[in-house]
């Protein structure tokens, strides 16, 4: 029992379960999943479907935060990728041509990668603080997205494009399949290969890593590029889900939600360690919270307050120092050394 309680993912899981239980009480049929038009349909499916872009962005953000950086530009990259893809598709003669859509998707993702490399070069090459370096693209990028769409909402009518964010494959939402693939790939690269260790070591102490022969610069550029690529895919999902690109609003404030998801998932903002599973749980918690608000009918005027309350509780429960204070009588005998959130020092 205590081992279970002390597992680093215990609290995120507990919170997610609590939120779902709240819906069990307040909303009829919340857990009912049925087949409709040959695909799964229900509130739980909605949560993963609408949560998919946030999970992707948060995955990229996790690796960036693990290097003790931060990427504020993801929201803008979301808007740019969606805008560029929709612009390309709207110029196609036949919007349903698979080749044309693949080309548009390719161009949008290629631009996302370029933007990621730009962030990486600013941070690793020139040495600008990550929060400032990515702020540049956060502010300028939204302007770029508006430039691409001419400030308008670009509507497309393309069924292959629609599949990415709003379609289904093998009864499952296609977006969640993409997320599963990206998650599996990330987990493989970081946990089976040395990349994860390198990222954690750069996040723990970039200088010491460099002295011990790790190319810190290369690692940093890689994670910022990966983060932008994830944001680009998320941008395609968001615009595909509504078959239109909205340069003003697509991905607005998603960077903050992503950072929150990462933190709820137990990754320290100080860098040096990260948890992919925790991040996925964090993103699901945020989306469940949003869906819960709509389902149980929290009035819009109090929505933000309600969210703030839940997030505060979540963060407090996540904090070892807080738990130590509140539960210390029960826990002290078993856990003499609480988990420290200090930076991991990597010694060569």
């Amino acid at each position: 029992m205590t081992r279970f309680l002390r597992h680093r993912l215990f609290w995120p899981v507990a919170i997610l379960v609590a939120l779902l239980a709240l819906n069990l009480v307040f909303t009829d049929n919340f857990f009912r999943v049925q087949m409709k038009d040959g695909h799964l349909y229900g509130s739980l499916i909605d949560i993963v479907r609408f949560g998919a872009p946030l999970i992707l962005v948060s995955l990229g953000m996790t690796l960036v935060i693990a290097t003790s950086g931060i990427d504020l530009s993801v929201g803008s990259v979301v808007a740019i990728a969606g805008a560029l893809a929709c612009l390309q598709i709207s110029d196609l003669g036949d919007q349903n041509s698979i080749g044309g859509v693949l080309g548009a998707v390719g161009i949008a993702l290629a631009l996302s990668v370029v933007l990621g490399v730009w962030n990486g070069l600013l941070v690793a090459g020139i040495g600008i603080q990550p929060i400032i370096a990515t702020l540049i693209l956060m502010v300028a990028g939204r302007g770029l997205a508006q430039l691409i769409t001419d400030g308008q909402i670009t509507t497309v009518n393309s069924s292959p494009y629609k599949l990415i964010g709003g379609g289904y494959w093998l009864t499952l939402p296609f977006s969640i399949i993409i997320v599963a693939v990206v998650l599996a790939l990330t987990a493989f690269l970081t946990r089976r290969l040395a990349l994860g260790l390198l990222i954690e070591s750069v996040g723990g102490n970039a200088e010491a890593s460099r002295l011990s022969g790790i190319s810190a610069r290369g690692v940093l550029i890689t994670v910022y590029t990966f983060c932008a690529l994830c944001a680009g895919i998320a941008g395609l999902m968001i615009s595909s889900n509504v078959s239109s690109a909205d340069g003003n609003n697509a991905g607005l404030w998603i960077e903050l939600d992503a950072i929150l998801a990462v933190v709820i998932g137990g990754t320290s903002l100080a860098g040096g360690r990260f948890s992919l599973g925790g991040t996925v749980l964090g993103a699901l918690i945020i989306q469940t919270l949003t869906t819960t608000i709509y389902s149980i009918g929290v009035p819009p005027e109090t929505t933000l307050l309600f969210k703030a309350l839940v997030v505060t509780i979540v963060c407090l429960l996540q904090s070892p120092a807080f738990r130590e204070k509140v539960f210390h009588r029960r826990r002290r005998p078993q856990a003499p050394s609480p988990v420290t959130e200090e930076k991991v020092r990597v010694s060569a």
Binding site: T27, G151, Q152, I153, G166, N241, V242, N248, I293
Partner: protein, 332 residues
């Protein structure tokens, strides 16, 4: 003097780069030499636009620019890119340029007193377009030209009441509100609520904010469809949220416009198309084409004539048949 002119040019240049709009270029460069004399009788108007965030706004801009040309008014146009500080800068530069009249659509409601006082001290009349300010001192501006959002809500409610006048069953309504706290969201909700509250059979069973966007409209509607088994009517505060909701309704295996009747506000092109296709049942127009009315008011104000403090834009409503007729001639 030289200092002043160079400062002005600098300000103009900054405003241009920030706005990133190519259209305003010629207007601004002619500003420094043309208007300062004020000898010719051509009226000079400084107009500060919110931004170019939607088709609606672009149509609004075009209408102002075109009708200025027709009315023979020299228009100095600037785009604030949704930022109040840009708009204040633009208004200050118009005051320095000594334009004859300033018109603008405020990005937000509050925080305008100082800059409006500056205009007043410079004896330049101000006209608000499309959006109001919450200033208590109404002498700071001459008139407010724009849509009456409460009236729009009432029109939407009235159509609903007429549609269901022969039925005795309860009508379950869900509402997609605009951005929480914004004037159009508050007023469209209030006007609609006022009309339907006369008959207890109309029930708003769920009402949430969809932030005026398609993505949020879809997401919220998905949740509504799952938590409320029986929805008869959807009232969305703008077309875009309605369009998002249509996708959600179709995804749930229902037919938008038939299984669930849809009322929206705005009448932008995509919305009118959906109305003509039978997916939306009724659209209350919120017309951006207020240019001609604005120019008339500007001429009167400059001459010193009295104008009413509140002028409502000329607007209409559309049924599906009317949409099919109107669609080919729509400007936006």
């Amino acid at each position: 003097m030289l200092k002043r002119i160079s400062a002005l040019i600098l300000a103009g240049a900054t405003a241009l780069t920030m706005a990133g709009c190519s259209g305003g270029g010629d207007g601004d460069s002619s500003a420094s030499n043309g208007s300062s004399g004020g000898g010719d009788d051509k009226i000079v108007m400084g107009f500060s636009q919110v931004g170019a965030e939607s088709g609606w706004r672009t149509a609004n801009t075009k209408s102002v620019q075109e009708s200025a040309k027709e009315a023979g008014i020299d228009l100095k146009f600037s785009d604030a890119q949704q930022k109040q500080e840009n708009q204040i800068k633009a208004i200050r530069s118009y005051i320095q340029q000594k334009v004859d009249v300033i018109a603008f659509s405020p990005v937000v409601e509050s925080g305008w007193d100082t800059v409006l006082k500056e205009a007043q001290n410079a004896k330049i009349p101000v006209i608000l377009t499309d959006r109001a300010v919450d200033s208590k001192d109404t002498s700071l501006y001459k008139t407010f030209l724009g849509s009456d959002f409460v009236e729009e809500g009432k029109k939407a409610g009235q159509w609903l009441v007429d549609q269901y006048k022969d039925s005795k069953d309860t009508v379950n309504i869900v509402e997609l509100q605009g951005t929480t706290g914004s004037a159009p969201a508050n007023d469209r909700k209030a006007g609609f609520g006022e009309i339907i509250s006369a008959d207890p059979k109309f029930k708003v069973i769920a009402s949430q904010s969809g932030d005026f966007t398609r993505a949020k409209g879809k997401e919220v509607m998905e949740a509504f469809l799952k938590s409320n088994p029986k929805i008869d009517v959807l009232y969305a505060h703008n077309d875009d949220m309605g369009l998002g909701a249509i996708e959600a309704i179709e995804g749930a295996g229902k037919v938008p416009g038939k299984d669930i009747k849809i009322i929206t506000v705005d009448a932008v092109h995509d919305g009118m198309q959906a109305l003509a296709d039978g997916k939306i049942n009724y659209i209350v127009e919120c017309s951006p084409l207020l240019g001609p009315q604005l120019m008339d008011l500007a001429k009167k104000v400059v001459k010193g004539e009295q104008v009413p403090p509140r002028v409502v834009t000329e607007e209409t409503t559309f049924t599906q048949e009317q949409a099919k007729e109107a669609l080919p001639n729509r400007k936006y």
